[in-house]
Amino acid sequence: MLQSKELIRDGAKVGDAQSANRPALELRNLVTRFPGDDGAFNIVDGVSLSVAPGETLAVVGESGSGKTMTFLSAIGLVPRPGKVVEGEILLDGTDLLKLSEEDMRALRGTRLSMVFQDPLTGLNPVFTIGDQIAGVLHAHRKLSRAEARQTAIGLLEKVHIPDPHRRIDDYPHQLSGGMRQRVLIAMAISLEPQVLIADEPTTALDVTVQAQVLELLAELREQSGMAIVLITHDLGLVARYADRVAVMYAGRVAETGDAEAIFERTAHPYTVSLFRSVPSLETDTASDLLEIEGQPPDPAALPAGCAFEPRCYLGHGRQDCQTTRPALRAVGDSSHRAACLHSSEVITEGTAE
Amino acid sequence: MSQITADATAMRDREAARRRRRKAIRRYTSHPGFVIGAVIIALMAIIAIGAPWIAPNSPLATDLANTLAPPSWQFPLGTDQFGRCVLSRLIYGAQISLQVGFWVVLISLTFGTLIGALAGFIGGWLERVIVALIDIMLAFPGFLLALALVAAQGSSLTSVITAVAIAYTPRVATVMRSVVLTIRPRPFIEASHAIGLSSFRILIRHVIPNALPPVIVVATVSAATAILAEAGLSFLGLGVQPPTATWGSVIAEGQAIITTRPLISLSAGICIAIAVIGLNLLGDGLRDTLDPQMRRQTGGKML
């Protein structure tokens, strides 16, 4: 297992050197806009991200940060009346925004798949799980009934559902939350997508089940070399599973880089605040947690300067932070970037401790 | 510095409050159905109340020299076979229709809400008994029930109102009970128990106010059916006794001469139709605007 991962990693590195290995999914300057009572506003505001084959990109943020909307945009499922108005979505080099609705539908599930937070809403209660998985296979692969059923059993086995021959004829309500999430993952990977987007896949699950589901995703990734986008708010999960991290705030990327850079040389005050405000099994219980004051901003009424300035322990009240919107720029090594005017200060402060 | 931010917050709060009030008003005024319905019902009310001043003639004064007159300046819609001014009879008829609508809604809303809320909130055997009784009453068509009650009681405005109200109370109660059933398991009800509120107080303070919006909508629409029922009863001669002018009796009296003077029955029919449409539009408008939660679910724009 260890070896296979190393191989993929090495492969990626070699590929980078030859610049032949494209990212599995790349978003360039993506803007998704919603009409509002007081004029249109961007819920995704110029997001650029990429994830390489075999890599796990964790996207971290609070509700309203645009993390889910970014990837709903990527998969072409922005809820009305929202609309992607700018940018490129490159799946293995193809710009999805230029595809017809029909082509996009054919591509969804086959090459780009998504797993959602609530495992119950993703399943139709009146069909057996076997029918639902076979339905996907039939629609995209034109498999016969018997073949589809056989493949479905194989998939259930792959996601470690015990006794798949019997379970395949169960209805969703007969399964526990963790099992349902496994079924959804089985459906999502049934067509061997290149990119799997998992939106808070374990938030609704108990912690022991969460561990099982995420171990499963990690295992599937190593078997198939697909790229995984893990949307989450849990920094512990990020520490455990992510190769690279993007922290989002108010529809923009606040900081992005290798997991190691984000954890060891944090360069954005928002990321720092997240680390210090969430209790973990290692937090000092004697002192209070760091509070991020105020509320996440209303995307329809963002401040003129840095969106985090009103809540920032470092920049609050600073003139430049109030007037200049910081661009994402390299800090330290080239892949580590942060959108903060004072990121050098943040890094020094972090490493000094 | 904290003083400055506090002031800024207070200012922002005041501004937000102003914006919210404007939004609330806009919510009603931007709903075309609500506006049209409200205007129709308001006009009807003005006409009914102002009848003595608005009506060109007395609704009861017969002029045997002038029967079945065609429309003229003196009788804008002509006269009926007794020489009474049709327009004046319609104007006074609005009084009866509105009274019936108003009282039926008031009575059926009061009793229906109470009965439905008790059944839904208390549950147990009380609910079973009430539901069984409601089902029995609903098994009769509302109009037939009213007809039977009026026939037994003798016809008068009071008995029409009573009969129609009794026929519609179970309908309101059914809606109320089902809404209460959805409210009972909501966390703020449990929270109210935890605070130490008595069940009665929870029912009055929390359950009924939250259940009321959909029930008010049903009641508004049932006002329309009540007006129809009254017209029907009057048409059959079981409603308010002649010579009092009601829309139903104008239709009935015009029926005999409908081939030669269709305008008489038709104009009364149009009055009923407008009133019913007005109330239905108002009900729709209320449904869309009354409940903040419902509004969020149905989402932004109507029509």
């Binding site: 609070e62 509700s63 526990s176 939350g177 963790g178 099992m179 108990d206 912690v207 022991t208 089940v209 969460q210 561990a211 099982q212 990690a218 708010h233 920094l235 512990g236 990020v238 520490a239 455990r240 954890f263 060891e264 997240l274 680390f275 405000s277 969430v278 209790p279 973990s280 099994l281 290692e282 937090t283 219980t285 209070d288 947690l289 760091l290 991020i292 509320q295 | 917050t9 207070a10 709060d13 937000a16 409050a17 919210r20 909501r186 966390p187 703020f188 449990e190 929270a191 109210s192 128990h193 935890a194 605070i195 130490g196 509120l197 008595s198 929390h206 106010p209 939250n210 903040p292 939660q293």
Partner: protein
């Protein structure tokens, strides 16, 4: 069923619970069919000292929320006893209970649903005071005071709950619960519905209120890190039972019940180096159902320790599935909650020894 454990602590206890049970269902209605009986809480005993924060953790179906409602008598216990402030409240009448509610209050999980959407915030906070007969001028003063205490501007009182974010609504919920200065506050998952950056605000607020008022907390949650941060003593529940109970340091540093150890190992920590080297104890299967409890120890079908122990010499074993053996004792007898070390209670036939959980070498997964 199992004898009440004597848990008298030297501290003056505010709450004492003896062998508390709650069975749902099983009752037949006039026409309906009798449903299966579910023991949501099945023989729980503990006591909580004045001014203490007592944490209750457990997964879905552990009975922790039911327990909170039994303590407040929002649900009536099937069996057992709740003593509050020296008074047995198990059989109080509804009207006596209502008077008591001034002393024991609750904060709910759902900050959106637990406030009446049709009432202004001021009215919501004032309501408990009106019910308990506080006079009008005092209510106005106290409303302003309590809103300020939970960090909300006075103007909040004139607004409706839907105008506020989740965190602010939870502040309103706390203000309502604290309005009458209760002795006990039961917090049922008070931060689990909130955004991560808001959780810290609420946890700090709760700690500050306790410092200022000396109120006793019973903090119910599924998040082990959150419970650890706020609680002094913690009970771990599994399928209606307390399986382990200990002061914070002991429970987290040296868990003795295999279930606690598995739970702790499943929680990832936001520290890259540490997390990537941590080993994880895999729990077998899924949490059982309270309608069909396993015989003996209710955790045995999922327990790594039982399987490990079964392979040791001289242990009588029982087969529970193909190739799966556990000690016969685990299948046949239900372990009682017993004090092992001082203040450290565990309900297990083969509790873990210090350091054992991380070293046993089997059934672990790790992404290294």
């Amino acid at each position: 069923m199992n004898t009440p454990v004597s848990l008298s602590t030297d501290r003056d206890a505010l709450v004492r619970v003896d062998n508390l049970r709650k069975v749902f269902g099983g009752k037949r209605w006039m026409f309906g069919k009798a449903g299966p009986e579910v023991s949501a809480v099945d023989g729980v005993s503990f006591s909580v000292g004045r001014g203490e924060t007592f944490g209750v953790v457990g997964e879905t179906g552990s009975g922790k929320s039911t327990l909170g409602r039994l303590l407040l008598r929002l649900l009536n216990p099937t069996d057992g006893r709740v003593v509050f402030d020296g008074r047995d409240i198990t059989h109080l009448s509804q009207s006596e209970l209502r008077r008591l509610r001034g002393d024991m209050q609750m904060v709910f999980q759902d900050p959106y649903g637990s406030l009446d959407p049709r009432m202004k915030v001021g009215a919501i906070v004032a309501e408990p005071m009106q019910v308990h007969g506080t006079d009008r001028s005092q209510i106005v003063r106290r409303t302003g005071e309590i809103l300020e205490q939970v960090g909300l501007p006075p103007a909040t009182a004139d607004r409706y709950p839907h105008e506020f974010s989740g965190g602010q609504r939870q502040r309103i919920g706390i203000a309502r619960a604290m309005a009458l200065n209760p002795k006990l506050l039961i917090l049922d998952e008070p931060v689990s519905a909130l955004d991560v950056s808001i959780q810290a605000q609420i946890l700090n607020l709760l700690r500050r209120i306790q410092r200022e008022t000396g109120v006793t907390y019973i903090f119910i949650a599924h998040d082990l890190a959150v419970v650890r941060h706020i609680s002094e003593r913690i009970a771990v529940m599994y399928l209606g039972r307390v399986v382990e109970m200990a002061p914070r340091q002991k429970l987290y540093a040296a868990p003795r019940h295999p279930y606690t150890a598995s739970l702790l190992s499943a929680v990832p920590i936001p520290d890259l180096k540490a997390e990537r080297h941590r080993k994880r104890i895999a729990l077998h299967g899924e949490i059982g159902s309270a309608t069909a409890l396993p015989s003996g120890c209710r955790f045995h079908p999922r327990c790594f320790k039982a399987r490990l122990k079964a392979s040791a010499d001289g242990v009588a074993t029982a087969k529970i599935a193909d190739d799966v053996f556990v000690p016969r004792q685990c299948v046949e007898s239900d372990p009682e909650l017993q004090a092992d070390a001082e203040d450290h209670f565990v309900a297990c036939h083969f509790p873990l020894e210090p350091g054992e959980a991380v070293d046993h070498g089997i059934a672990t997964t790790s992404n290294e």
